[in-house]
Amino acid sequence: MSHAPKQLALEAYASALLSARATARVERHLAACTVCRAALAEVQAYAQLCEEARAETFAVPSWERLEAALDAPAKSAPPKSARRRQTGKLIALSWPLLALAAALAIAWLGKSDPEAAPRAKVAQQAHSPGSLPTPRMVVGFIGLLTGHATLVHNGVETPITLDSSVHEGDVLRTASDAQLHVQLAAGTGFALGSGTELAIARLRAGETELALAAGRVTSEVAKLAADARYHVLAGELHARVRGTRFWVERRAEVAVFVHEGQVEVARGNELLAQLTPGQGYPAARFSTPAASPAREPRVHFAPNELSHAVSLLLSAPPALRAFVVDGAAIPATSTLALRLPLGPTELTFEDQRGHIRTVQVDLNAPLTKLEPAALAELIAPKPGPVGYLSPEQISAVVRQAIDPLRRCYERNLRIEPKLAGKFALRIRVSAEGRVVRAELDVQAKLPIELERCIELEAQKLVFPKPEGGGPLSFEVPLNLKSTH
């Protein structure tokens, strides 16, 4: 054997595949050749790695997860052969039926009398879709209210409070200082911006039709059933959605912007645009990141929680700049009314110096009113325990969110293909490990939609309980790098 090691011979030797004579010959050579001994060590190392790799275990998807994906719409088609067989069966069954139907039709034509036709029509009408039971009415609840807003119900206009409910046929109006959120069902609701007038044209199970006369309505729609619909009409235009989050604005012109999901914008039967996240209509208005819309608060409840909800009235003390609801800052210029679940909850505020303060309140009365003095005392800085999480603990949790964060980035790349850079994501974690605030540094100068998306994803993170029993804040540096 020369000093260029014979790979196959060494592999065979390492795997004990050689005859006794060949083994002895190789061993004699190895004893004298350092090059081949080094090569043999590499072969043995690789063999050990293969063995270790074969013993490795991996996370595999569960059957439940796969089955859910199989049952998901558009992907759930049974194997083609099964479909073919089913179709074949139907055809096989239907030929005799068709023949029988044809025979009966011929017989009926032979005996038809003029009165029979109207009777048949009446019978047909009785089974037409129009005669199906009317979908049940849905009632909306006010989840958040700030400023002055009114509700026109049966022709009578009254100020909106948290006790107001919204029905089909009602009209909602918000003043220039007002914002409100209406919860329709779990995951479905809409928010009215300031100076908005919205008529509830239809509000039934599976059918929502909102007519926007002026201002802006932001909708969040949970995944709809196949036959359900959610439309927002604005003049001649209407926006049709499935599961999504989007807004429609009607001022000098009508505009539509999509946060999540897909929205069709149509005029009559003419489809004008199919919008995906980050896209708006008309396209020219949303061509620059600066034109991206501001964030709006969302208030989420499951309907059964609504019955246990309590009202909270927050009157702003002078030291307060904004109430922070679901990551959106609502200027603290008037009382904020919120419907919140019973029990302990965290409230977040921004003070005049831009510091974010979070306080715990226990909502146990039907109506909790926090007057300015009480609120000022609550939000006054108090020394408390400070929590600690190791960089490894933080990093492990943040890594789990990388894919959703990347999706946020990908969506925005469609609008701005050169979007890239480094920025810091500031996260505040409560003593329980929940994210109470996530925001990007102002230096990031990212499109507002990307900021919002990243912050929302970050808010879903759950950290281990910080050591020390207190909350903590930290920054997570992120890199955006496009391959284009």
């Binding site: 790979q7 592999e11 190392a45 991996f58 059957w63 997860r65």
Partner: protein
């Protein structure tokens, strides 16, 4: 217990339980194969993608090869498509961390030896990722999945000699690259030291013999030479 062929036949007619049985039987092997082809955090998702594809393509399985062979071929195709998509995807990473390394392979708190083994596996993956797609696929199927070369040839639709050549050169590149990864270089060194020990002992014994000719060799050197004491 039903065979794969029976299960496939039943699954084709829409029998969900038969498809479930196929999935449960093959998901671990599919994950093991994918683990050497796609980044670890993506394995679970790609396994799911493979079986969704299997469900859609059961008609295309003509029974000319074993179901596992057909499944491997489909897995390779899904992995290739996944990697191509990934290559054109934008990157969002935690700053200061290498996406191919730390980010995609979260360190787990494990006993020391397990941590070392995990480290070796990650290093191996990095080396495998440097091989050409053709060599990597042949090597992974043969050395890590235990698929015979003739079956790989059918699966990849290439002559069996091509498969053997790819395995040979793939291994050769890997052997040469082991030194690039400190953790693997350490493994090679430890194996080399272990093999050096008997050689050193023989050499010492020879020197001792030559220094004192005629004297009986020590028991140790006799044993090393295979002599009877």
């Amino acid at each position: 217990v039903s065979s794969d062929a029976e299960l496939v036949e039943r699954a084709r007619t829409g029998d969900r339980q038969a498809f479930r049985a196929l999935f449960l039987t093959h998901r671990n092997a599919t994950a093991r194969l994918l683990s050497r082809l796609v980044p670890a955090p993506e394995v679970e998702d790609v396994v799911q993608e493979v079986f969704l594809q299997v469900h859609r393509s059961l008609d295309a399985f003509r029974g000319e090869s074993r179901f596992s062979t057909w499944l491997y071929r489909l897995t390779m195709n899904v992995a290739r498509m996944h990697l191509r998509r990934q290559r054109s995807r934008p990157k969002l990473t935690l700053a200061g961390q290498d996406e191919a390394g730390q980010l995609e392979r979260p360190e787990l708190e494990t006993p020391e030896r397990e941590a070392e083994r995990n480290e070796r596996m990650r290093a191996l993956d990095r080396l495998l990722a440097c091989l050409s797609e053709k060599k990597r696929e042949a090597l992974v199927l043969h050395d890590f999945q235990g698929v015979p070369a003739d079956e790989i040839a059918k699966l990849l639709e290439v002559p069996v000699m091509t498969v053997r050549t790819r395995i040979f050169y793939g291994r050769r590149e890997l052997y040469a690259a082991l030194a690039q990864e400190p953790v693997l270089a350490a493994l090679v060194q430890s194996l080399l030291s272990a093999s050096e020990a008997p050689v050193q002992a023989r050499r010492a014994a020879r020197e001792q013999e030559s220094a004192a000719p005629g004297k009986a060799a020590s028991a140790e050197s006799r044993a090393l030479r295979g002599d009877k004491p």
